[in-house]
Amino acid sequence: MALLEVSNLVAGYGETEILHGVSISVDEGEIVTIIGPNGCGKSTLMKAVVGLVDVRSGRVTFSGADVSALPPQRIARSGLCYVPQTDNVFPSLTIRENLEMGAFVRNDDFSERMDEMFDMFPDLGSRPSLRAGSLSGGQRQMLAIARALMLDPVLLLLDEPSAGLSPGMVGSVFERIRGINRAGVSLLLVEQNARQALSMSDRGYVLSSGENRLEDEGQALLDNAEVARLYLGGSRDRTESDSPK
């Protein structure tokens, strides 16, 4: 059975329905990437899975349990952790305090886990009492990921981890992501950098206008002519409209 199973998910904000019945799944140990044009509902899908957006119909099951109606803090406790695209650190808290907040629900001694994070991200370990607000974009992204890892998640959801980073930093972030996966954490990614993300993914989904469009192995999606033309094209233009016939 899949670790995360999203079936016929309908969700949105207020009057607007963004997802019109999306189904995806993530198996244990996998890296799965969701790509699609801006506004297709990738971020909304993630927020609905972690409980920040209400699920109107459909089901989200995690490790066999239905989590569709659980509040976000309960979902986080069950081992499903999420890193938003923006505003993903507590700026007025120090690096160490950010990690402590990541471990908020842990009542055991998590200092060992924190040391592991400092080893994994030496930039953070060198100045743990620096305020997160003064970090660079790349360091913030590292801290955001480290915060989510403090709970020892089974599945990590990353929303555009490479957004706004310099090309050099992007490579380094992807390298860390691969390392996290090797350590046994399953990953669900949303990425603008589709080519790089798909090349390291086991599987990928293409969303369009809040619906499933394609699903295949990562490499197969990269080789798919239609996907290449629509979403991986040489230009980095935003494709807002639906694909031509």
Partner: protein
């Protein structure tokens, strides 16, 4: 990208420049005035500032963490004072505990017993009000203005309740006259002022330690920074909200008791009238910042007391209001406000 980085550097540079300039200008101004100012007024203002600080830190915490302008904060102060009076005059007196003049102070030991009980009652009441009123409104997704108006209603109701139970006349805790301490430069310090200063210092330290050391205190700051991220980190924000109300209201109640002790009387409108100094101090320091509220409180306290040397004391509340207006025009985010 580089343009952005330069812009950020420029902003942070001008931020430090603003601080240095503000401190130098303000310091020079204050020092220049000092020879013309009666030291007694400065000391009195500092004591008043300590009371304002205790109230304003609670106000600013509630604003920063809950994004809630608590108009009823002054009336939580009033409740603290009257509940102390009630416990001292009722329950403790019935138990035969009656005394005045504890050590050098005017009030008796029953007041010291009643203080933590009254504070706990007000804190519990504030949490109950959140459950009964504010949480329902929040769940409906109402705006901050609607919440503020709801707290205005609570403020009026509380004041009315105090008037019904204890009448509109001035009341006071059982007290006994005690000699005033005479210090050089014609400064006279009533012994109760020492008590006020000690309690305020202890509370401000306790708030500082809570926010920087305790798990719940850090979760409060995290929730103030980013409530959604706090939720997905597994923080139970409803519990954070209740702790914030409890802490904020406990501080308000203590400020009310200290004010009643310092002024040697209490009136149903005492807290309501204190609301402008509280907001002025919180906004002066940058609303949401506890350290800012501390500094703002002393500026407001000293400025309003010292002003009585030149203007009629009945205009004292106008001084806090004037500082508030100037601050809002010149620098709305306050001295220590982090972002616009």
């Amino acid at each position: 990208m580089t343009a952005l980085r330069t812009a950020i550097r420029r902003i942070s540079l001008s931020w430090t420049a603003w601080h240095t300039t503000a401190i130098i200008v303000f310091g020079a101004f204050a020092l220049g005035l000092l020879p013309f100012v009666k030291m007694g007024l400065v000391v009195n203002g500092a004591i008043l500032g300590a009371i304002i600080a205790v109230g304003a830190i609670g106000l600013t915490l509630i604003y920063g963490i809950l994004n809630f302008a608590n108009i009823a904060h002054g009336d939580y102060m009033t409740m603290g004072a009257y509940l102390t009076l009630f416990i001292v005059g009722g329950a403790l007196s019935a138990l035969g505990m009656e005394a005045q003049g504890f050590g050098p102070f005017t009030f008796g030991y029953p007041t010291l017993i009643a203080l933590p009980i009254a504070v706990a009652l007000v804190a519990a009441g504030a949490i109950a009000l959140d459950v009964a009123i504010y949480r329902r409104l929040r769940d409906r997704g109402v705006s901050a203005v609607v919440l503020a108006m709801a707290s205005l209603g609570v403020a009026i109701a509380l004041r009315g309740l105090v008037q019904i139970v204890w009448s509109g006349d001035a009341q006071h805790l059982p007290r006994q006259s005690k000699p005033v301490f005479h210090l050089p430069m014609d400064v006279r310090v009533p012994p109760d002022a020492i008590f006020v200063a000690l309690v305020a210092l202890a509370l401000v330290s306790a708030v500082y330690l809570t926010l920087t050391r305790a798990k719940m205190g850090k979760a409060m700051r995290a929730t103030a920074d980013n409530p959604q991220l706090a939720l997905v980190s597994g923080i139970d924000t409803q519990r954070v909200i209740w702790w914030t109300w409890g802490m904020g209201a406990a501080l308000a109640a203590t400020a009310g008791i200290l004010l009643a002790v310092f002024q040697a009387q209490m009136l149903p409108s005492m807290g309501w009238r204190f609301l402008i100094p509280l907001f002025a101090a919180a906004i002066l320091g940058g609303i949401g910042s506890p350290y800012g509220a501390l500094v703002g409180a002393f500026v407001i306290g000293v400025a309003s007391e010292v002003s009585t040397q030149w203007i009629n004391p009945s205009y004292k509340p106008a001084v806090a209001f004037g500082i508030l207006i100037v601050m809002l025009l010149a620098r709305p985010r306050g001295i220590f406000g982090s972002s616009g």
